[in-house]
Symmetry: C2
Subunit: 151 residues, 2 copies
């Protein structure tokens, strides 16, 4: 078994994280949607006012997965963790690494006194849908539509 460590993302991981963000966008059939720059990404995570936090799955020194969250403010529930992205590289899937990452997120959310966590998943992404149902008995609701405007 290889050395696997789940640890907090550091500034030096950012370039690799951007690669993985791009890999996820390709998987989600939206390869051209990633327009954020590395500079903005670094500044947003490690500048004076961080707006995102992440964990990485480090396999013998190489980052093979990550989970990135920000703090959501719900007027119903208060502060909650919003899991923006979670990804394990293709070759490392099926080994339980995703569960290690997700479990670490839950631990973090509880430590930070968030009263819950939220995320979205594409309705056709069966492996992910099954993962959330199998390990976390999560309900996945299709009742809300997503609206957006781009400037």
């Amino acid at each position: 078994m290889k050395d696997i460590i789940i640890r907090r993302a550091e500034k030096k991981d950012c370039a690799r994280l951007m690669e993985l963000v791009q890999e996820l966008a390709v998987y989600e059939r939206a390869p051209d949607e990633v327009t954020v720059t590395l500079e903005h990404f670094v500044e947003s995570g490690f500048g004076p006012n961080p707006v995102w936090w992440a964990f990485v799955c480090d396999v013998e020194g190489r980052v093979e997965g990550f989970a990135l969250y920000y703090i959501r403010y719900s007027t119903w529930k208060g502060q909650r963790m919003y899991l923006e992205d979670i990804l394990i590289t293709e070759k490392m899937r099926g080994k339980g690494l995703g569960k290690l990452l997700f479990d670490r997120l839950i631990e973090e959310a509880k430590e930070k006194k968030f009263n819950g966590m939220m995320w979205q998943v594409l309705n056709w992404n069966e492996p992910a849908v099954n993962f959330y149902k199998k390990y976390y008995q999560a309900e996945l609701s299709s009742e809300w539509l997503n609206g957006s405007l781009n400037f």
Copy 2:
């Protein structure tokens, strides 16, 4: 025509805002879901590290509507406005106040250099769905499912 002002929410508005949050939850058929306390709400908006911002629709000194947002971090797009709630009280609907609020949000998002804004709407909330389509030509996607865990 009554005096209508769209202005930033202030600390003194918080109790009224909580009333309106509750009104919206009833409308959204989830009256028991609001568990946040006024204290946590005030602290989250006006404490040392604010996580939400809001505008109110002030009609002759009484708050008859509000829009509340937080900053979302998208790994694809960078920082975006996430519109958490928008509501006009029942008796004041149909007078264009929602559009005043939404236009003010767009202005704010552009001023703050967000590259877009996002929100969710219940698929059965026809008046809201029509509002977003009519005035903002917004696409409303049903492709993403919402997952959540409560601690």
